[in-house]
């Protein structure tokens, strides 16, 4: 039995679904943030799998790998800003539970 592109796409989709379920189900803002990272990584996995699958002159398509590099960079910046916002929020409210943060709720 050989590995196909579909195997990797299925793993990627499973990771994305788990991350999505975490964002929907968990109520701790830090866990929600971790699940967002999980979803970004799922996208990276499918990009790398497609890059290996579509060879250009016998080499992987490196454009996709550069895109993954950019995604990782942006995600790192996003984590830094997001965690700073969470710390500022904690300072103001002393909670990380999303149901306690509802001043914008109608």
């Amino acid at each position: 039995m050989t590995l196909t592109l579909n195997h990797y796409l299925l793993v990627s989709g499973l990771l994305f679904a788990i991350g999505f379920a975490g964002v929907m189900l968990r109520r701790n803002i830090i866990i929600i943030f971790m699940c967002l990272e999980l979803m970004l990584n799922a996208a990276n996995l499918s990009l790398v799998a497609f890059s290996r699958f579509n060879l250009v002159n016998g080499l992987p398509n490196y454009n996709a790998q550069v895109l993954v590099f950019f995604i990782i960079t942006v995600a790192a910046a996003e984590v830094a800003v997001g965690l700073a916002i969470i710390v500022a929020l904690y300072r103001a409210r002393q909670t990380t539970h999303v149901e306690d943060i509802n001043s914008l709720k109608f």
Binding site: M1, T2, L3, T4, L5, N6, Y8, L9, V11, G13, L15, F16, A17, I18, F20, A21, G22, M24, L25, R27, N28, I30, I31, F33, M34, C35, E37, L38, N41, N44, L45, A49, S51, R52, F53, L55, N57, G58, L59, P60, Y62, N63, Q65, V66, F69, F70, I72, V74, A75, A76, V79, A80, V81, L83, A84, V87, A88, Y90, H97, E99
Partner: protein, 167 residues
């Protein structure tokens, strides 16, 4: 990559991703996420993307997760106590995730191009970093500069956000 290794690392990644969602203790969640990222890096190695795999370990499993653990310990967040569950919200969220996986399964059944094995590469050991670097600096030079500006903006934003009072 041999199928056994693929199944091992794919299972590792998915199981520990589930542990991130299932754990009540944020520190346990963060450590599960580290293991999940390491499994993902191994999958990248299996796809001959060595540079991306190393970056994944260094940036995600290293820097980002240290930042997460640092904030969790700084804020001294203990395990969540059980609250009354908002059942419709839980059912809705779970349903959408399950629907997504089912839909993906059926799409992949119809996706004939993805059912063939990965084509063999021209050379067996490619100098991956050289090719990625070439593409990054020759083809995508401007986006690379823009990323530099983005990181500068993020740094300044973090400093402004963590000041005690905003003026």
């Amino acid at each position: 990559m041999s199928p056994i290794l693929f199944y091992f690392f794919a299972a590792l990644t998915v199981v520990f991703a589930l542990a991130v969602v299932a754990n009540r203790n944020p520190v346990a969640s963060a450590l599960s996420l580290v293991v999940s990222f390491l499994g993902l890096a191994a999958l990248f190695v299996g796809l001959d993307a060595y540079f991306i795999a190393v970056i994944q370990v260094l940036v995600y499993a290293g820097a980002v997760m240290v930042l997460f653990l640092f904030i969790i310990m700084l804020l001294n967040i203990r395990a969540e106590e059980r609250r009354k569950l908002n059942l419709p919200a839980y059912a809705g969220g779970g349903l959408v995730a399950v629907a997504f996986v089912t839909q993906l399964w059926f799409v992949l059944q119809k996706f004939e191009a993805g059912k063939s094995a990965f084509p063999a590469m021209a050379e067996t050991n490619v100098d991956d970093v050289r090719h990625v670097g070439n593409t990054l600096f020759a083809t995508f030079n401007l986006p690379f500069q823009v990323i530099g500006v983005l990181i500068l903006v993020a740094t300044i934003g973090v400093i402004v956000l963590s000041k005690r009072e905003l003026k």
